[in-house]
């Protein structure tokens, strides 16, 4: 099979999966088998592209021309490859987990859930492999719309309100800022293809570059840079698997991925490094990191704490991109993968706790580690990764970001990373401490054990992945290095 066909299949497979899943709505077992099969096939397809990209090839395919000069085009480059690998790989694990969660909690509308999930993955693949801004925008909006039914899954008034905020902020920012930025770029540069080294070149005035960057950063609402982060905590009304995959992997990562990709392939790391008008971005990202961490510190609801932790961690990627050094770009790319693995583990754990013990608040978790050792063990690994301690993947990415900041003497950024590390420890370690070292209250805990097997298996897998990425970061690192080199 040619790489071109593989790329198209990677988008077509989940899309076709949607139809099959919908068709099998009367047979839950078949439906879930189809989900797993689709996820498996997708990750095989994506993985088969990896050796090519590692060898330096950039397979691409132009599907058709949407408007004169503006084609629907896919092209696989290292960053997209990395994102595609992460998203497709975690979909399998997440599907396993979803099956346990949805059945364990007897959720309604399960077919719609799986259909939209597959659709979200198709859109994510489209974003990962987008060859120009137009294609990226197309799938970006598609992802927002297809995940809307997932966010409002429970159809309660609260869910509908959250849905409004979710849709309003994401569609609003993307149409008002991102679309204008894309069209402006098209008008300035005459192209919107992602090109190594950037397309804005030297002719564009510095002030314009700064304004454009602002339009892009706030236009990509999914990256959740403050003040456009509000949708993320709101979307936590969704079932936990949705929060896990979409709000730790697909949606938010699509956001920071887009920012990173735009910085690298539209602005160009070296071309923009000396431009003064973009200096505001590290401050904005730094502020988001610290402020979100402080909010997380005060949140008692576990999912809310995780949500704000996500907001904070996403801005690491934005910050790393904004430092505009090759090393920090490597760190940014790695952090997409590292945070995805770590955060999905944490969400899985939160969902497992909810399913097994029906607990949602941090203050209820005293001693729960004794009844759910696997879950809380995995949670600990995820927390370590968030803090950036070995032996978890978060350490590697943070290391590169710090190196990048130090190499160019951006000490503010170093201070932010250090301070946030302390804050991260401040809101994660107490949970771990409570779970393992505080005695359970006598009456509070019903007799319960671990969550259903598939859920525990899933979260153990991702926790293992987090550790594995620390010891064997070869493939992501190689991809990220290509990014910095090219």
């Amino acid at each position: 099979m040619t790489p071109e066909a593989t790329i198209l299949l990677a988008i077509a497979v989940p899309a076709v999966g949607m139809g099959l899943i919908a068709a099998a709505h009367r047979m839950p077992d078949l439906r879930e088998a189809i989900t797993l099969a689709t996820a498996g096939l997708l990750s095989v397809l994506v993985a088969s592209l990896t050796p090519l990209v590692l060898d330096g090839a950039r397979p691409g395919v132009t599907v058709f021309e949407m408007m004169p000069g503006l084609a629907l085009r896919f092209e696989v480059e290292p960053l997209g490859m990395l994102f595609g690998l992460v998203a497709s790989g975690l979909w399998i694990v997440n599907s396993l987990y979803s099956i346990g969660y949805m059945r364990g909690n007897e959720e309604k509308h399960q077919t719609r859930f799986y259909v939209c999930f597959a659709g979200a993955l198709a859109a994510t693949m489209g974003i990962a492999f987008a060859g120009n801004l137009l294609t990226l925008f197309l799938f970006y909006e598609a992802l927002t719309l297809i995940t809307y039914p997932l966010v409002t899954h429970h159809v309660t008034p609260g869910a509908v309100r959250a849905g409004r905020l979710y849709l309003g902020l994401l569609v609003g920012t993307s149409i008002v800022f991102l679309l204008v930025a894309i069209i402006w770029t098209w008008q300035l540069a005459g192209t919107i293809d992602f090109t190594p080294g950037g397309i804005l070149g030297g002719e564009v005035p510095n002030a314009t570059v700064g304004v454009l960057l602002a339009l892009y950063v706030f236009g990509v609402g999914k990256a959740a840079v403050m003040p456009v982060h509000r949708w993320l905590p709101a979307a936590m009304v969704a079932p936990t698997p949705v929060s896990a995959l979409l709000h730790a992997v697909a949606v938010v990562k699509a956001g920071v991925f887009s920012v990173l990709k735009i910085v690298i392939y539209v602005f160009g790391v070296e071309a923009t490094a000396g431009v003064k008008s973009v200096d505001w971005l590290p401050f904005m990202a730094g502020f988001t990191i610290i402020a979100a961490s402080i909010v997380a510190l005060r949140a008692d609801n576990l999912k809310r704490r995780l949500a704000y932790s996500t907001v904070s961690q996403l801005s690491y990627v934005v910050l790393a991109a904004a430092l505009l050094t090759p090393l920090s770009v490597i760190g940014a790319a790695l952090h997409i993968a590292a945070h995805a693995l770590g955060k999905i583990t944490l969400f899985f754990a939160a969902g497992a706790i909810y399913t097994a013990a029906h607990k949602t608040e941090v203050s209820q978790l005293d001693g729960i580690g004794r009844r759910m050792p696997w879950t809380m063990g995995a949670f600990t690994v995820g927390a370590l990764s968030m803090i950036g301690l070995p032996p978890a993947a978060g350490f590697v990415s943070k290391w590169y970001i710090l190196q990048g900041a130090m190499a160019t003497g951006q000490w503010n950024a170093v201070a932010v990373v250090v301070a946030s590390t302390l804050l991260n420890a401040g809101y994660f370690l107490p949970i771990v401490y409570r779970a393992f070292f505080v005695a359970p209250p006598d009456d509070g805990h019903r007799a319960h054990g671990e969550a259903p097997f598939t859920m525990v298996a899933a979260l153990t897998l991702t926790a293992a992945g987090t550790v594995a990425l620390f010891f064997f970061p070869d493939v992501p690192l190689a991809l990220a290095r290509q990014l910095a080199g090219g």
Binding site: F64, E65, M66, M67, P68, L72, L134, F137, L138, E141, A142, L145, T152, V155, V160, R164, L167, G168, V171, G172, I175, V176, L179, V180, I183, W184, W186, Q187
Partner: protein, 514 residues
């Protein structure tokens, strides 16, 4: 006067003059004549079923002829057809170029789709003894709209305008609600004032140039451009046409007319009538007065710009607070017309392309929405928000179609609305007005709100007892409606066809574009 002068027409391209021997040589008039002849036949036959069949045949043959014409002028040629072989500028000339060929295809295409839909919808909404009259008026309206587009003669244009208007007043008055009568009366008054303004404008031009042939008129206007009667003509034509195309604040007739007309009529008129009026505006501005006389000598751009922005924001805001969904989308039409005139106001090739492509795109989108709403009206009898709660469970295809077309109103990528918006924003940025680009996208957020009012009502409410008894709309209504929805998506993804048509039309209107 007019007949008394010699004319040396400086045609930009030598028109193909035709003799009337073969049928194919009579194409430029055939698409008007066929529905025009069908109308009296229907009255003679007095049978609803036959009348429908005849209307369908007339619409489809008009479509075939229009498509053939478009294919012929696609390369940039001009077909000139002299009625009764009286050579222009003395006789009435039909003049087909890439601008109106595009429009002819649009109008006859919408008519052909809607006529299929009519069968079941009209059955339910119009009294049986009036069916044949309905179709008579339908084809008359079609003939009028096609005639406006095809003719190259100022007075002939007025006549066709009145044919289409009079028949559309009747069509609106056929609505079930008694308010349809008041709406129709209102439209009659305002429409007639508009048409009379147009004919005054044409009369002034005729007095100054001695000709009614638009191409001839354009050539002779150069000598008298700066005189006061010409300025008066420009003003009368602008106001008159703006009334017909419902440019804010002359749109007052539109919401009621659309809301209370029979569903098929709403869809047909929303997709065609205002669009044809827009074409007339473009024709007079660019082909008759000339770009410099309209846009450089007078602050036409600024006036259009302000009115368009007012339409986009005020009409969209009003739409948000409507209870009747048809009325909501009628106000949305006023707002969308604002986008089109905004494109015109840029007075640039990109802006004009945006206007023309949005003219086509909006016709598809609104046509689809009103057709689908007709399905709800058929089953439920009403289209108010308080009645449709949870309707997505019983009419999933209808509801989902409305959502998709609604996304196109918002301008989500992959729909035709996105293509329009892209060009509109590009035109704004090209003209250096970045604040305008922001306003354009901001106004589309208002569309998010009103479309999502429908989404939340249809999907998130528990169906009432009366709703849960309903069935999906009949296939003969769903298929045409979904054809339009599919077109919305297809032309949103692959816009090369519509864009090349639009940009060629824009280039035709704006020769030597800057």
């Amino acid at each position: 006067m007019r007949s008394w002068r010699r004319s040396n027409l400086p045609f930009s391209k030598p028109p193909i003059t035709r003799c009337n021997i073969l049928i194919s040589q009579n194409y430029p008039i055939l698409h008007v004549v066929v529905p025009l002849i069908a109308a009296p036949l229907m009255v003679l036959l007095r049978h609803g079923g036959f009348a429908w069949l005849l209307a369908a045949v007339a619409s489809w043959s008009s479509l075939a002829v229009s498509a053939a014409l478009l294919a012929e002028v696609a390369g940039g040629g001009v077909i000139s057809y002299a009625i009764g072989s009286w050579a222009p500028p003395w006789g009435i000339e039909y003049r087909i170029d890439s601008v109106n060929a595009f429009l002819l295809v649009l109008v006859s295409l919408i008519a052909s789709v809607v006529v299929i839909y009519c069968r079941e919808s009209v059955e339910a909404e119009v009294a049986p003894e009036q069916h044949y009259l309905f179709y008579t008026m339908y084809v008359l309206c079609l003939a009028g709209l096609l005639g406006i587009a095809a003719t190259g003669d100022g007075f002939n244009l007025f006549v066709f305008l009145e044919i289409s208007s009079l028949s559309s007043y009747v069509l609106i008055a056929l609505g079930r609600d008694r308010r349809a009568l008041v709406a129709s009366y209102q439209y009659l008054i305002m429409g007639t004032i508009g048409a009379t303004f147009i004919v005054i404008g044409v009369g002034l031009l005729f007095l100054m140039t001695g000709t009614l042939n638009l191409a001839d008129m354009a050539a002779r206007l150069r000598e008298v451009t700066d005189t006061r009667p010409i300025l008066a003509a420009l003003a009368f034509l602008t106001v008159g046409i703006s009334l017909k195309l419902a440019l804010f604040p002359l749109h007052l007739w539109l919401p009621n007319a659309y809301a209370y007309a029979p569903s098929a009529v709403t869809a047909f008129l929303a997709a065609t009538a205002t669009k044809v009026s827009l074409y007339v505006l473009l024709r007079f501005y660019y082909s008759v007065f000339g770009e410099s006389a309209v846009f450089i000598a007078h602050p036409t751009s600024d006036i259009l710009l302000v009115l368009s922005l007012a339409a986009m924001f005020i009409a969209s805001t009003v739409a948000i607070f409507q209870d009747n969904i048809k009325r909501l989308f009628a106000y949305s039409s006023v707002a969308q017309i604002g986008y089109i005139t905004l494109g015109v106001s840029f007075d640039s090739l990109t802006g004009l392309t945006a206007a023309i492509v949005h003219l086509f795109n909006h016709a598809l989108t609104k046509g689809a929405i009103f057709l689908l709403l007709g399905g709800i009206a058929l089953r439920l009898g009403a289209v108010r928000f308080q009645d449709i709660g949870g309707i997505a469970r019983v009419m999933p295809l209808t509801s989902f179609g409305i959502v998709l077309a609604g996304l196109s109103l918002i301008g989500v990528p992959g729909t035709v609305g996105f293509v329009s918006k892209w060009y509109l924003v590009l035109a704004a940025i090209e003209s250096g007005a970045w604040w305008l680009a922001l306003l354009i996208v901001l106004s589309s957020l208002l569309a998010v709100i009103y479309v999502w009012r429908f989404v939340e009502a249809a999907y998130f409410q528990v169906p009432s007892a009366s709703v849960s008894r309903l069935r999906e709309a009949p296939l003969s209504m769903l298929v045409p409606a979904w054809l339009m929805v599919a077109a919305c998506l297809y032309f949103g993804l692959d816009a090369s066809l519509t864009l090349s048509g639009a940009s060629q039309a824009a280039a035709e209107l704006l020769p030597g574009s800057r």
